[in-house]
């Protein structure tokens, strides 16, 4: 138990996030711990496909670039690293990190590897229903099935002295709750404290989204220096209250408004936020602006953790063909609409088997649907035709049908593009806790 607050930062809010703000955090954030959250819902399914193609692959593509950038200074300052960059292959990721640490001469650095989230063989064995479709998770269509682990394995790894903890699928807030709980000697079944640590994790897990990213609206909500956006830091007290801030002099801002937006980000019922660790209750949270990019948060609560774990299931689900072409000047909207009508008719004439079709006029109705109450034509529009098909060949036929508008469609159509992608749909199911068994292994550099 330590009376001193823990300083924990977030060095990445998604797999492709900026790298130098994380370096700034390690160098100037006075951190105890830095978390890299790099595993969106679909990222792990893509990683499972990469691992199937290469048994040494399937971890975060930016792992080596990130570690090369932050590891020397993190080791020198003894800033602990917790990350889910192991994705579908935490052991392979740990081996890469050990190779980097070896080359840098970081003797004594210990890496912990958390595994056990991969439950594809269990889910493929039958008896699991997908929440979204109501259908059974059939083994032949399931590309990946990963259970969301909680804070427990990370707590064990840190207590064992790991400097770097590498996981696969772990609930995002758990990456933060674990080091906080270890530092303050919290019991994980103190549900109020678990709810408090989960709130801190939830606020930080998207990196720049709490420091002024995904926020600016010029003239209404101005944010300074977004190109140099600082990543967040939480200073967490033993009673679970926290102060959210960022590195002094970095871009962005931490205010009551940025924290309130992030508090409700991806939340449904704010009194029942389910994680593997707790059912957190954010309804009593109070946010206090302390000035100078410092915001106090207090009042989170929690109830006993759920008896089941959520499993993220990746399923192949056909193909999407996407064709686009632009029109500008007087009559652009009418020409764009004519172009869309032509493509719809063409797809029937040539008989492309289509499961679902959508045509949008970008600039008019692509994002918010038709708005009858909004008058006035835009000067430029872009037709977008997207279709779901069973085969790649059919998806290409849809995309190319848009391109044929160059010579066969309305006047002045330019900038046609065609693209096709395979659909990896993410679905979910629940698994009883006792069917998931995690483990932690350790690698030590120079040992």
């Amino acid at each position: 138990m330590s009376a001193r607050p823990l300083r924990i930062g977030c060095g990445a809010g998604y797999a492709g996030d900026r790298i130098e703000p994380a370096v700034e955090l390690v160098e100037r954030g006075h951190l105890d711990v830095i978390v890299f959250e790099c595993l969106a819902e679909r990222t792990i399914a893509l990683a499972q496909q990469a691992k199937a193609a290469d048994p040494d692959g399937g971890f975060d593509p930016l792992l080596e670039e990130r570690m090369n950038a932050v590891l020397p200074e993190a080791w020198r300052r003894r800033v602990r690293i917790v990350t889910n960059m192991g994705a579908a292959n935490p052991p392979a990721a740990a081996a890469r990190v050990r190779a980097i640490a070896d080359r840098l001469g970081l003797h004594g650095l210990t890496i912990a590897v958390v595994t056990g989230d991969d439950v594809r063989s269990i889910v493929g064995g039958g008896g699991f229903t997908l929440a979204e479709t109501g259908e059974a998770a059939a083994a032949d269509t399931v590309v990946s099935a990963n259970a969301y682990l909680g804070a427990e394995p990370i707590v064990e790894a840190i207590r064992a002295g790991a400097h770097v903890v590498i996981t696969g699928r772990v609930a995002d807030p758990s990456l933060f709750l674990a080091p906080i709980a270890v530092h303050h000697g919290w019991r994980l079944d103190d549900w109020t404290l678990a709810g408090s640590g989960t709130l801190v994790g939830h606020l930080l897990e998207c990196g720049g989204q709490v420091t002024g990213g995904y926020f600016a609206d010029p003239g209404v909500k101005d944010v300074r220096a977004l190109a140099r956006l600082g990543f967040p830091i939480a200073e967490v007290a033993a009673d679970g209250t926290a102060m959210i801030t960022k590195v002094e002099g970095s871009g962005g801002q931490v205010t009551r408004a940025t924290c309130a937006e992030q508090l409700l980000y991806e939340i449904h019922d704010p009194s029942a936020y389910f994680t593997p660790d707790v059912i957190a209750d954010f309804t009593g949270v109070r946010i206090t602006d302390l000035g100078d990019d410092r915001v106090g948060v207090a009042g989170a609560a929690g109830r006993q953790r759920p008896g089941t774990l959520k499993v993220s299931v990746g399923q192949l689900d056909g193909w999407i063909g996407d064709g686009q072409i632009s029109y500008a000047g007087p009559g652009a909207v009418a020409r764009g609409r004519l172009a869309g009508d032509i493509v719809r008719e063409r797809l029937q004439i040539v008989g492309v088997p289509i499961l679902e079709l959508r045509t949008d006029l970008i600039g008019v109705d692509a994002l918010h649907g038709p708005r009858a109450d909004r008058a006035g034509d835009p000067y430029e529009v872009r037709l977008r035709v997207a279709a779901r098909t069973a085969s790649a060949a059919d998806a290409w036929r849809v995309a190319r049908e848009v391109e044929t508008l160059y010579t066969n469609g309305p006047a002045g159509g330019g900038g046609a593009t065609a693209a096709v992608r395979q659909v990896l749909a993410m679905r979910s199911t629940l698994i009883p806790r006792d069917r998931v068994s995690w483990r932690v292994d350790y690698l030590t550099v120079g040992g």
């Binding site: 995904y214 937006e261 939340i267 679902e356 959508r358 692509a366 918010h368 779901r388």
Partner: protein, 99 residues
């Protein structure tokens, strides 16, 4: 006058469910949010993009509302045909609601 004059908003996504928060700049405007952004009005505003139910949660401590919209993301973020499969842009639609 629209909600954008008194409040700010953010969209989040999970599967086929979208949530849009609505937060008063000034706590004193929270009652106005409650009166203006009723579930029925929000559902009508989002008719072009949301097929399912709209549920409103109230957070008086934060001066905030949270709208949870089912069937919002065209079959879910990972398989949607939409240009913006996450619905990231939907927060600004809510802010366009007349007061």
């Amino acid at each position: 006058m629209t909600l954008r004059d008194i409040a700010h908003a953010r969209t989040g996504d999970k599967g086929e469910i979208c949530n849009v928060s609505l937060i008063a700049f000034e706590p004193r405007d929270y009652p106005l949010l409650l009166r203006t952004a009723t579930p029925d009005r929000v559902k009508a505003l989002f008719a072009g993009v949301v097929r399912g139910d709209v549920t409103r949660y109230e957070l008086p401590h934060l001066g905030a509302l949270n709208f949870v919209m089912a069937g919002a993301l065209g079959g879910g973020v990972t398989r949607s045909l939409a240009l913006d499969p996450h619905g990231k842009s939907l927060s600004t639609l809510l802010l366009d609601l007349d007061i």
